[in-house]
Symmetry: C2
Subunit: 385 residues, 2 copies
């Protein structure tokens, strides 16, 4: 994608420009601390209608950001991370919807986070940035909605950690969300999920270049640790089946070398993914995102009863899971569906046959696209859009 002509493709949102919004209203956080002021960076695609009734919010996952669709410049090699779903004629159809995508607090792509200068010290927040929760994010997203004049989202949408934000929206602001689209998520992490996050965190924190999180001052980054964390993450994003299909036991040079350099294709793939990630992501942000995942457990405030946690929701739900996802397996999505049904809530559930693993939620799998499309047509129809 280097030609301007490509940007003019009928189904692309084309060139987009992120906006930064400054909030000077202090934000109280779950950890007990308060952010006196903060920035949120976001993008929008499509136009808000006069009734302000066609806005949908996209919530991003662990390593995502506000750049969900289109291109920042004609030189971009890749579009935003969910370009397959956002654009004219795509499921989140920008001819009907005003799509909003925001980088969460604690992020490293423009919203206030560890890499931001802390006004109190004149240095980057680094490890002093407060641990933020899914609930905190939703609170900050609600303020963005206020600013945009969106009283009620036509839909709030997200996969993985993004799906957890959707659930939280439906609980915390039931009147502000008409439809909820929860994809490849879970109502809380399992011990195994937490264990993988913990190994990733230890990899980062034990890297001598981490300097207790103050690596910016040392002009280094915990490259080795962040790379390991990402490699490990990738194993959990792909299914065993997909890895078999993609790499099998293929040897890079066709033979064993009896050494510790890359031999199997899968090793090459993981090292590449790890190295690329280090160039684009901040280690302190990665730590925060994994903690937000670990802490997410909306039922914990309701005697560990998810049905009770969801008792007040009024949104219509679509819950989507993928058969090959072992990070958040379909059984985890079904827990959400069951809890919603317990309360006679409006919920549909789609289990998509896909061997792509957890990452399937980012891919244009035909059956998945059809399901999203059908749901969003309903969102549009019910909203008279």
């Amino acid at each position: 994608m280097t030609e301007l002509t490509e940007l003019l493709l009928a189904d692309s949102v084309g060139l987009v420009t992120p906006q930064i919004l400054r909030f000077d209203d202090p934000l109280p956080l779950d950890c007990g601390r308060t952010l006196a002021s903060y920035d949120l960076i976001y993008e929008t695609y499509g136009e808000l209608n006069a009734a302000r009734s066609n806005a949908v919010l996209i919530c991003h996952a662990l390593s995502g950001d506000h750049h969900a669709a289109g291109y920042h410049s004609a030189k971009d090699r890749k579009p935003g991370w969910w370009d397959s779903c956002i654009g004219p004629g795509k499921p989140f159809d920008t001819r009907h919807f005003f799509v909003v995508s925001v980088n969460n607090l604690g992020g490293c792509k423009g919203s206030t986070g560890p890499t931001t200068i802390n006004p109190a010290t004149g240095q980057p927040y680094g490890p002093d940035f407060p641990i933020v929760t899914v609930k905190d994010w939703v609170r900050s997203q609600a303020r963005l909605a206020d600013h945009l004049g969106v009283k009620q989202w036509a839909a709030v949408i997200g996969g993985s950690l993004g799906g957890m934000q959707v659930l939280q929206w439906s609980i915390d602001y039931p009147a502000r969300i008409r439809h909820a689209l929860v994809i490849a998520a879970a109502p809380k992490l399992s011990a195994q999920n937490i264990a993988f996050n913990e190994v990733a965190r230890q990899a980062i924190m034990s890297d001598p270049d981490f300097h207790a999180g103050h690596y910016y001052a040392h002009d280094v980054i915990p490259r080795r640790g962040l790379m390991l964390a990402r490699m490990l993450g990738h194993i959990t994003y792909l299914s065993d089946d997909l890895m078999r299909a993609k790499f099998g036991r293929e040897l890079r040079e066709g033979k064993l070398n009896f050494g510790f350099d890359v031999e199997f294709q899968v090793e090459s793939y993981l090292r590449y993914q790890g190295r690329a990630f280090v160039e684009r992501f901040d280690a302190n942000t990665y730590l925060l995102m994994t903690k937000a995942l670990d802490y997410f457990d909306p039922a914990s405030d309701y005697g560990h009863d998810l049905s009770a946690a969801l008792q007040g929701v009024t949104a219509s739900f679509l819950v989507v899971a993928f058969t090959g996802d072992w990070r958040f397996a379909p059984a985890r999505s079904r827990e959400i569906v069951r809890a919603l049904l317990d309360g006679d809530k409006d919920v549909s559930y789609a289990e998509i046959e896909a061997n792509e693993g957890h990452d399937a939620f980012l891919m244009p799998i035909p059956r998945y696209m059809e399901v999203l499309d059908a749901f969003m047509r309903r969102v549009a129809a019910e909203g008279g859009l």
Copy 2:
């Protein structure tokens, strides 16, 4: 276990003393190099009968060693790693069998490996120790058998990487093995298995204290990397179910602390396991063991046809798998069983209901013990023992 009286328990092999055997006959290795001389450390339990027909060989897994049963001193807090199965009245009954357990080449518990002084340099082999394969191990074990006067093992037995050695024995020395007991193994690693090993290796090799494997000379060990490797390993040894039952989302202090110290019990468990391992295991050995796993693929010499690889075997097999094992799932064991059946080999298969994960093979699960016991009674009966 600190009281001498406990050592006298009727079902323990009691105090044992390892023996070291020096081989000066050069050993050719799969990598093309040759070990001019080497030591093997081993233990034996029970007595070799006059006909030398009651010997069984125990092959250890990734982090195992020759100390499979009994105690080295009255102060030992724990017995050998498979004490649940080896002893008078236990499945590998030392009243009938002469049980042999050897630390594999490349190990760090007394057999020649990276921590051994390389006679050519006067320094530890370190990273210059050759990458050894399952086939190499079996070749060295055959020489140990020669020394012990064992022409044919009544049985060769092992779990996980140990089970792979059993398979290799049955292929390379069909006349020297009457029964083969392959537990929680696989005919080769999957791409996902290799991926986990690769992350573990990268954790070790990227630790600044690794010094390209020459850390002995720097008087340090790659503690952080080895700890990460072990933490990651542990996730794959336990099932998601067992982790849920054992740790759930239990918080160590009963509440979230909004910090990066240990919060969830599962984090505490993993860090403890990681730290303990660093004190007892060598990082270069860990690297070698993971490579032996990655390389194991006996079918590769037979056009990737496992049935063809097993065509010459004559041993009677028992293959055991555990339902909760996702590292080497029952489907992997069934590949072995199917290939044996293709060649009309004598094979029994037991799939044990167990939620303990891969580590189940080390645990005294009643149904599993019964299966081992029944098989070993048959081994004894057929051998007139």
